[in-house]
């Protein structure tokens, strides 16, 4: 995989999943499979205090290194022709895009596995933190979930 087939971006701006999906395969005719994941700020209808906004904080400098290390590990494990990881930072509203991970490969098994692996590792090893603001204006840091750690340990 050419070095330029890896895209890692940490940005406050929105991104376009359609454009990113197209970029993952258009340059390489051997790509037969593109698996993608899109994470969004979601409403929690059952929970106390509806979330209105979410603020994503990160550790500039370390974030990019951590994502690059995670992508390198995925490329070591699976034959990938292209990988894209985009993560937004700053204030976001319900329905906004947070994260995009896309993996292109000749075959679907590698594309699927690498995409899920990247999300599991990103969730537990990349220095991002979410702070929620409820309708009443209260803010709270999102707690890490043990289930995310368990998922990351599967690989």
């Amino acid at each position: 995989m050419a070095k330029d087939a890896v895209t890692i971006r940490v940005q406050s701006e929105d991104f376009d999943p359609g454009v990113e999906t197209q970029r993952l395969h258009e340059a390489d005719p051997t790509v037969g499979a593109v698996a993608t994941f899109l994470g969004l700020v979601r409403a929690h209808p059952q929970e106390d205090g509806a979330v209105t906004t979410m603020t994503l904080e990160h550790y500039p400098g370390m974030t990019e290194k951590a994502l690059a290390a995670i992508v390198d590990e995925a490329r070591r494990r699976w034959p990938l022709t292209a990988v894209t990881v985009i993560h937004r930072v700053g204030p976001l509203a319900v329905g906004d895009r947070i994260v995009f991970v896309g993996c292109a490969s000749s075959h679907r098994a590698a594309a699927f596995a690498a995409c899920e692996f990247l999300m599991d590792y990103l969730k537990t090893r990349a220095p991002f933190w979410k702070k929620e603001t409820t309708a009443s204006g209260e803010t709270r840091w999102v707690k890490a979930r043990a289930s995310d750690e368990e998922r990351a340990l599967r690989w």
Binding site: E57, Y59, P127, F128, W141, A144
Partner: protein, 84 residues
Amino acid sequence: MALSIKYFARVRDALGTSGETLAWNATWQTVDDLRQALCARGGAWAETLSREEIHCARNQQIAAWNDPIADGDEIAFFPPVTGG
């Protein structure tokens, strides 16, 4: 030289600072030695920097508590990550 210390997210909010520059102390051998020195300040420092509830990075890489520390390092303390 000195250490550059950074605090993020809930840790930063609890300590009321996003970071500081700390004079190097040659008795520190591991990142946990630094953590204990910060805890010795008491109050929010002792409450927040419990090693069960935070993670540490040394020079922008996740560190174990017994990893070595050296003059000039950038050390960060933060809660478990919640991105994605």
